[in-house]
């Protein structure tokens, strides 16, 4: 009897846990602007370094890193959003995110100027993206979160880091390069 109750309790706790996780976001800065990203997709946060640039790729692809034996591509979010990259500082880090692709999951590293904290944003505090004005493609935005009177853009990782789109962009980049030479 007691064991079954205990089991019920843990199950309940797990349920709460999952619910909480859904509302937890990692906030980070690109330049002076704050963004948020659901923590469920985040695998780890690394110090910036040991990056190998891959030639002939669009600017927002910084290169690849060695993540314990796996070669992981690294995307610069600032460049992806605004076309400008920020300087590397002590606080710059690479966040490893697991994204869903058509054939399974893949890890992608994302360069962030600094990571801030993990926050809970209740669903009631999340608004749909504005029609315009965010200066970022609306399909990149999952929602607008309100934190202590500030508004942060919650990023849709699967869209921003869509492997198909990145591959396509790099192909067009190559084609343009061809004309350049």
């Amino acid at each position: 009897m007691t064991t079954s109750m205990a089991k019920d309790n843990t199950e309940h706790a797990q349920l709460i846990d999952e619910k909480m996780e859904e509302e937890q976001y990692l906030t980070f800065y690109l330049g002076r602007e704050m963004f948020a990203l659901g923590i469920l997709n985040i695998k780890e946060i690394l110090q910036y370094g040991q990056l190998t640039t891959v030639p002939m790729m669009p600017a927002f692809i910084r290169g690849v890193i060695n993540l314990r034996g796996a070669v992981v591509p690294v995307v610069d979010l600032a460049t992806r959003f605004s076309g400008q990259s920020n300087n590397i500082t002590k606080k710059t880090c690479i966040v490893i995110i697991e994204v869903n692709t058509s054939d399974g999951k893949q890890d992608i590293g994302v360069v962030m100027d600094s990571v801030s904290e993990v926050l809970e944003i209740p669903v009631s505090d999340i608004e749909p993206p504005p029609v315009f004005g965010a200066k970022i493609r609306t399909d990149f935005i999952q929602g607008m979160g309100k934190i202590r009177d500030k508004i942060v853009i919650i990023i849709n990782a699967d869209k921003v880091l869509s492997i198909e789109e990145i591959a396509m962009l790099s192909q067009t980049e190559l084609a343009e390069k061809k004309v350049d030479l």
């Binding site: 640039t53 692809i61 690849v64 890193i65 492997i163 990145i166 591959a167 061809k178």
Partner: protein
């Protein structure tokens, strides 16, 4: 009853049997009469097994079809029908058809798709021509069988060894036999008294009896088992269901304590097995049997160590780990060198050597022999030569050459294409051959051998060779060659590898399916292999495919441009020279150098990859040689040889020409592996493009 696991076994078993049958059939034509008879028996048994198992699962389509095949085989066995090439071809097709039917069942397709049904009917009609057995008769007979099934009596075989306590517990062995009689009819019974001890040791209260019974009944296995409920604990009871295979009986014979030969005779006496069946399954003379029984104690151990089935996934995992080990040890060696500690250096060099050995042996685990893949082509050649009315003998050599499993899987398609081409275009028809004073029978050689770290696979024929005039005119027609261009013979031959080139004047159903030699070439290059062609007009042509032994780890040459490291596959590196050194002068600002009088075009990786930074004073040229093309790659520093564990670059980078993958260096950084042919192609196409736009 859940038949699913049993069905799975049925699929696997039928495929294996069909493959075996195919092998036998292909050999059948060349065999002498005695071994032909044996082979026919084997094929008949195989067909019978498939029919039996299919019947068990009520797979009527397979049963009906196989039955017709079986009756033909039976007539062949009785020498009523003689063996010729046509009948072998027909039987091969029947084998395929049965395979397709099995696949159909596996895919849970209850209905026959129309095309399969049609092809089945065509085959049945052909079979009927030989055997006179029509499918309707079969259907009838099967229907009758089905109707009777519920009350039809079947023959079971029951093997009983009473436990020694049976009498003490108040049971009478005879009462069981009597009880059995109430269930059905005992056709034959043989009493075994082999267990009787010497009279001195004889205990009158113990039971030493054994019985072998052939029992005809309509009840199911359960009821028979129930009959022996009271004694099943300490007695040995084996019940073989009707239609059990000879091998099941053999197993029984082996399991029982009596002398095998004696038990075999008893089974024959019982009528459960015929003497012929026993002899066929078990052809050894008496002495051999005895020897075998002795060997059995030792044999299992030997066999187990000989080979072992391992999941391919586990192997891949192991090789990945070894790859990590190589990287880690490279890191350790680097650090040891930096520290300058002699002992540490020594230890690390021992470690490096051991790791290399481990790497080699790990890679060997993935190696399998090319033989089975080669044998598949026997069939293709056989079928095609039949269709084309050619006589072709295929000669296979080096079937025991080892090659990486992935490579073997991927080389199969290109090889099929080459072989099809040889049979279709290369080897002439018998008449044509006789006119040329060649033997009627054409020869197709398929061979594999090792050559300096590579595996070479050759497809050669003694046919007509390439028709250079036709190739040249075709190439001109397609704009691949300018009208006034003069080409060497070899260059003309190599034109067939150009995209958009197909030599067949008419499109036959064998070649000319839109897949050209360029695809073959590309497939092989994807495996980091090369293909060369050697053709002698009127004498035949040879395709030589060179493949790396493995795909996972290569020897690389590490170079450095600005801050990035790149790996060039070592096998392509021809030499390294200093740019603007004694041997290698730049005369102009064009991208070629004078290398000891030879003009060598080069690519500045610094410019191509726009790495930024300023070139150092001393630059180096790595001269690569690939498929006859020589080119220089200008880099900053040469870092030397490097054990390269290839890591895929992922989808994002899959479109980048010139990059073949990545590898991890000793210091943990990622180095990119250059795909030299891709790089050279890209640069030359870029240059062409800019020249054209300039005009």
């Amino acid at each position: 009853m859940d038949l699913d696991p049993a069905l799975q076994t049925f699929y696997v078993e039928s495929r294996e049997i069909l493959e075996e049958v195919e092998d036998i059939l292909l050999r059948l034509g060349q065999e002498d009469e005695a071994s032909q008879k044996e082979s026919l028996n084997a094929i008949f048994r195989a067909a019978h097994t498939i029919k039996g198992s299919a019947g068990l699962f009520k797979l009527q389509n397979i049963v009906i079809f196989t039955h017709v095949v079986e009756s033909l085989l039976d007539q062949m066995r009785e020498s009523e029908i003689s063996i010729d090439d046509d009948i072998i071809a027909l039987l091969l097709k029947c084998g395929d058809h049965i395979g397709e039917l099995v696949t159909l069942v596996q895919q849970n397709n209850a209905d026959l798709p129309p095309d399969l049904k049609e092809s089945g009917e065509v085959l049945l009609a052909q079979l009927k021509q030989y055997s006179g057995v029509s499918v309707f008769e079969v259907k009838e007979s099967i229907k009758n069988n089905n109707g009777k099934e519920s009350n039809q009596k079947k023959s079971w075989h029951i093997s009983l060894r009473f436990g020694c306590n049976v009498l003490r517990e108040g049971m009478d062995p005879l009462s069981f036999v009597r009880y059995l009689e109430t269930l059905g009819e005992i056709e034959n019974i043989v009493t075994l008294d082999d267990a009787l001890p010497r009279l001195v040791d004889f205990d009158p209260e113990s039971c030493y009896l054994g019985l072998e019974i052939k029992f005809k009944t309509q009840v199911d296995k359960q009821s028979i088992e129930d009959a022996f409920k009271f004694i099943q604990e300490d007695s040995t009871i084996t019940i073989l269901s009707p239609g059990s295979r000879v091998s099941d009986y053999l197993k029984l014979i082996d399991e029982m304590p009596e002398e095998n030969q004696r038990l075999g005779d008893v089974l024959v006496q019982c009528g459960s097995l015929t003497a012929a069946e026993l002899a066929a399954a078990w052809p050894q003379p008496n002495i051999k049997v005895a020897l075998n029984k002795q060997d059995r104690v030792r044999m299992p151990v030997v066999q187990e160590t000989r080979s072992m089935r391992v999941d391919a996934g586990k192997l891949d995992e192991h090789i990945n780990l070894v790859g990590e080990l190589v990287i880690a040890s490279a890191g350790a060696a680097l650090r040891a060198q930096e520290m300058g500690d002699t002992t540490l250096n020594e230890l690390s060099s021992i470690l490096t050597r051991l790791v290399e050995e481990v790497r080699d042996s790990a890679l060997h685990l993935r190696m399998i022999q090319v033989g089975p893949t080669f044998n598949k082509f026997q069939r293709i050649v056989h079928d095609m030569s039949k269709d084309l009315g050619k006589e072709i003998e295929m000669v296979i050599s080096g079937a025991d050459t080892d090659l990486d499993k992935t490579v073997i899987e991927k080389i199969s398609d290109p090889l099929t294409h080459l072989i099809r081409n040889s049979v279709d275009h290369g080897i002439e028809s018998p008449v044509e051959r006789e006119e040329k004073n060649k033997p009627r029978k054409g020869k197709l050689y398929l061979s594999a051998y090792h050559d300096s770290g590579c595996v070479v696979i050759e497809v050669a024929d003694d046919g007509n060779g390439l028709n250079r005039d036709r190739i040249l005119s075709k190439a001109k027609e397609k704009g691949l060659v300018r009208e006034d261009q003069k080409l060497m013979d070899k260059d003309i031959d190599n034109l067939i590898f150009e995209p958009g080139f197909s030599t067949a004047d008419k499109v036959t159903n064998i070649s000319g399916r839109g897949v050209g030699m360029d695809v073959v070439k590309r497939n092989i290059e994807e495996l980091r292999g090369t293909i060369e062609l050697d053709s002698r007009p009127g004498e035949g042509s040879t395709f030589r495919i060179r493949l790396p032994l493995t795909l996972a780890i290569i020897d690389g040459f590490l170079v450095n441009v600005e801050n990035s490291s790149f790996v060039i596959p070592l096998e392509m590196v021809h030499e390294c020279v200093e740019l603007n050194g004694v041997n290698c002068k730049i005369d102009t600002d064009r991208n070629y150098v004078n290398l000891r009088g030879e003009i060598l075009p080069f690519i500045r990786l610094r410019a191509l990859f726009s790495t930024g930074g300023v070139a150092p004073k001393r630059e180096n040229v790595v001269i690569v040689n690939y498929a006859g093309v020589k080119a220089g790659l200008v880099v900053d520093n040469l870092m030397g040889e490097f054990q390269t564990v290839i890591k895929p670059l992922g989808e994002i980078f899959s479109h980048v020409p010139g990059l073949g993958g990545s590898s991890i260096l000793g210091n943990g950084e990622v180095a990119l592996i250059l795909d030299v042919p891709g790089l050279v192609n890209r640069v030359s196409s870029m240059e062409n493009f800019s020249i054209q736009s300039a005009v």
